[in-house]
């Protein structure tokens, strides 16, 4: 892991610019923004495990929201990976809002979830709501937490090379010089991102939650 400042310095090196903190007054902010852009895009690309967490929250039973303040944990609705009811392996679905009238859903078990709208006072602190709103009990949620916009001293928990190569490619594209160098860095960047995704997807994934240990069984 490197800080944003270190990534900017390494990017200026790759660009054959004089490097050092505070040296490039008119490139450092640009490169920092480019690194931020690459991170933001790549962050949304995959639910990278290093940003994801599991948590159990209790439903309030009246508003369909959890009782825990999620402000600093789940910052956007899109950062919710999956929600389960307590003790279930069946994910709770998103509300099909063009075919389902949520007010027709009744009971005390969580059925679907959706993003809170702009008129809801809990939009920031709870992010989503469960239908029916009278649902009670716990839900299990996997979400990713997006880091705040980076400061120069912020350590960025992401692949250095992907961010540097992406920023360098972006900067070169603006330069209007040496198209071959621009192409090269674009390919390097894309290759690295593809590699990260392959690494993310590698490993053994069971197709269902019951076959994760084939030597374990129960005789009825």
């Amino acid at each position: 892991m490197s800080t944003l400042s270190q990534l900017v310095t390494r990017a200026t090196d790759r660009l054959s610019m004089v490097s050092g903190t505070g040296v490039q007054v008119y490139a450092e902010d640009v490169l920092a923004e480019m690194i931020q852009h690459k991170f933001d895009v790549l962050f949304d690309e995959v639910f990278w495990p290093n940003f994801c967490s599991w948590a159990t929250y209790t439903l309030d039973g009246t508003l369909g929201i959890v009782t825990t303040d999620l402000t600093s944990l789940v910052k956007r609705f899109d950062d919710i990976h999956v929600i389960f009811s307590d003790g279930s392996n069946v994910p709770i679905s998103k509300l099909a809002d063009t075919t389902t009238n949520p007010f027709t859903i009744t009971g005390t078990s969580a059925r679907v979830y959706e993003q809170l709208g702009p008129t809801d006072a809990n939009k920031t602190s709870r992010v989503f709501q469960i239908w029916p709103k009278t649902a009670t009990g716990n839900i299990i949620i996997r979400f990713r937490t997006k880091p705040d916009t980076f400061a120069p001293s912020t350590e960025i928990d992401f692949d250095d090379q992907a961010l540097i190569l992406g920023a360098v490619f972006d900067y070169l594209e603006d330069d209007g010089t040496n198209p071959n160098a621009t192409n090269k860095f674009q390919l390097l960047f894309e290759g690295r991102v593809a590699q990260l995704k392959r690494m993310y997807n590698s490993g053994s994934f069971p197709l269902d939650p019951f076959s994760n240990n084939i030597e374990s069984f129960t005789i009825a």
Binding site: V23, Y26, A27, V30, T177, P179
Partner: protein, 606 residues
């Protein structure tokens, strides 16, 4: 290829190498304030303070000054000085004269006491506000216009100038201006009513024999008033070049030829006249080879002899700086102050005509003698002006080794020569020093006396501003990308780039009163320079150690080195751009070239 939101499949970008670059490396134009800088070539500079075009074509910080001697033991203020026979002869306002040798040791050579030792026990000189010098037949003659002239021998003995046969100076004229020309000593500028236009010409081959002395004597006087075609008939100065002498009036110049005899009578020829060109001070006239450089209220001019006809012609040399010249001269709106205090020097080693103009009439009000420098080297085709600031030198002279000496108050300074071991890169070395953080007071003066002469001096504040440039594409938007310098030296400098005629910070309402935060009734404060550059960065000269290598200098960093060929980002969007380079020099610094890399855009400014 990764399919992602960043690179949709099939997206293709047509890339070309379209980065352009423009290099500024011709600074031959020098300082130019007369042309509109929206329409000025980059070889000219809109501001060129304390810089000069070097003989190698680079723009460099001007030389500094180092204390050479102090005459305060004898003089109250040096009015003028002249190099003569290995000594610098300085005349004080108190009428005393001292010699300064090559080690800076000062000896009194003329005062009431010295005069009292002469035959007849005359008095010395009265309070002296002006003196002129002439070396004639191996002796130095000094005139102050108030007392009888004195003559200094090679042994630094001073006596009143007198006729050797009569042993009297009864007929020696009292005049302000003196020159040696041909075989004659010529004086003019008498303060006696009725003699303002009178030229006093000595007897052939003598300096002390004048009209009235016993024979053999062919000395004469000539009243030139009737020959003056326009303006005042009062002689303002004397000059010479080749076989011609020039008598300057307010609005005319009379060229004359001496040594013309009718039978045994000397009948100098003053038949020609150059009209509408005159002089304001005897002290600003310099003879430079075939030319003579001088100035009047309107500007600096030169005269020379036409090759074919042999007639004398004049040419305006200060056209490019006339507005600033006129402004500077107008601050000295007193004829007496103009004659006494505006002065010049010819630095032959650097081919600089140095014109010093005070910024006020009285000594008490004067804070600066602005030095306008006309660099002129015909072989190298250099004719460029420079503006040297921050000095208060009232007189100066050139030694036989072509060193330049300047005086301020009672002190004598040597101007550093940038081209040898005696180079000086700060001002007032040996007399003033800076704070521990290497900064002077806000008026760029320092502490005095200094603790360590070898480690003293105050920085030279330099400013170099180029005209607006459109990169030869006035209509198109440009996007600058990188900047690069070829520099020599170790000093740091600030580079600013202004864009699209945005120069002054219009949101700056001026400086508050010092005593309290109130402003004037209209909510504005004191008018101070507040600029609004689009880009600004500090760099260090090409010989500097670079960032981080300068141990504890510049607060833990050596600055951005310009010796590296790596890039410095320099990003702005503009149709017009203007560079301004400034700094406080304590080390050498010269600019060989400035390169800007940019992209051309469309004609629409977003």
């Amino acid at each position: 290829m990764t399919r992602s939101t960043m690179f949709p499949k099939g997206a293709k970008i047509n890339r070309q190498s379209i980065l352009l670059d423009a290099t500024i490396r011709d600074y031959s134009g020098g300082w130019n304030v007369v042309d509109n800088d929206l329409n000025l070539d980059t070889k000219f500079s809109k501001i060129l303070e304390n810089m000069q075009r070097g003989l190698d074509g680079a723009n460099e910080v001007r030389p500094g000054t180092v204390l050479f001697g102090d005459t305060s033991e004898y003089l109250d203020e040096i009015i003028n000085c002249e190099y003569f026979n290995n000594f610098i002869v300085c005349v004080g306002k108190n009428g005393k004269i001292v010699s300064v040798d090559s080690r800076g040791i000062v000896r009194e050579i003329w005062s009431d006491d010295w005069a009292g030792n002469l035959a007849g026990s005359p008095l010395g000189w009265d309070t002296t506000l002006f003196v002129s010098f002439a070396v004639f037949n191996g002796e130095l003659i000094i005139c102050n216009g108030v007392n009888k002239p004195v003559i200094v021998s090679t042994g630094m003995n001073v006596i009143y100038l007198k006729d050797l046969a009569d042993n009297t100076n009864a007929f020696t004229p009292i005049a302000r201006f003196v020159i040696a020309h041909g075989r004659y000593l010529v004086m003019g500028g008498s303060l006696t009513v009725g003699e303002e236009d009178k030229l006093f010409i000595s007897s052939t081959d003598t300096s002390g024999t004048w009209v009235g002395n016993s024979d053999p004597n062919d000395a004469i006087t000539v009243n030139l008033g009737s020959r003056v075609p326009s303006g005042s008939h009062v002689i303002k100065g004397l000059g010479k070049f080749r076989d011609q002498m020039m008598v300057m009036f307010e609005d005319a110049i009379l060229p004359g030829t001496l040594g013309v005899f009718t039978s045994s009578t000397h009948t100098p020829n003053f038949t020609d006249a150059i009209e509408n060109v005159g002089g304001i001070s005897h002290r600003i006239t310099q003879t430079v080879g075939d030319d003579m450089i001088f100035g009047d209220v309107n500007g600096v001019a030169s005269i020379k002899r036409a090759l074919i006809s042999g007639s004398v012609t004049s040419d305006r040399a200060s056209t490019l700086i006339d507005p600033d010249y006129y402004t500077a001269i107008s601050q000295v709106d007193s004829t007496v102050a103009q004659e006494d205090k505006i002065w010049s020097l010819w630095d032959s080693a650097n081919t600089n005509y140095m014109l010093f103009i005070p910024n006020a009439i009285t000594d008490a009000e004067t804070t600066e003698y602005r030095c306008m420098v006309y660099k002129r080297n015909k072989k190298l085709k250099i004719e460029a002006w420079q503006d040297w600031r921050g000095w208060k030198f009232r007189s100066g002279c050139r030694s036989s080794l072509k060193d330049i000496f300047l005086t301020e108050g009672t002190q004598l300074y040597r101007l550093g020569d940038q081209h040898d071991e005696s180079a000086v890169y700060q001002d007032y070395v040996g007399d003033q020093e800076m704070w521990e953080d290497e900064t002077p007071f806000t008026d760029y003066s320092g502490f005095t006396p200094v603790a360590d002469a070898a480690n003293s001096g105050v920085p030279i504040k330099f400013i170099w501003e180029l005209p607006w440039s459109d990169n030869r594409e006035r209509f198109l938007v440009k996007n600058s990308r990188y900047i690069n310098f070829d520099t020599v030296g170790e000093n740091d400098f600030t580079v600013q780039m202004f864009t699209d005629n945005i120069y002054d910070d219009i949101l700056d309402f001026g400086e508050d009163w010092e005593e309290d935060p109130l402003k004037f009734d209209d909510s504005t404060g004191w008018d101070v320079e507040a600029l609004d550059p689009a880009l600004e960065m500090v760099f260090v000269g090409g010989d500097g150690p670079g960032f981080g290598n300068n141990a504890f200098g510049n607060l833990y960093g050596g600055g951005r080195p310009t010796r590296l060929e790596k890039l410095y980002a320099w990003r702005a969007k503009y149709k017009l751009q203007k560079f301004r380079i400034s700094g406080d020099a304590t080390l050498p610094l010269k600019f060989v070239s400035i390169t800007l890399a940019y992209l051309n855009g469309s004609g629409r400014m977003a």
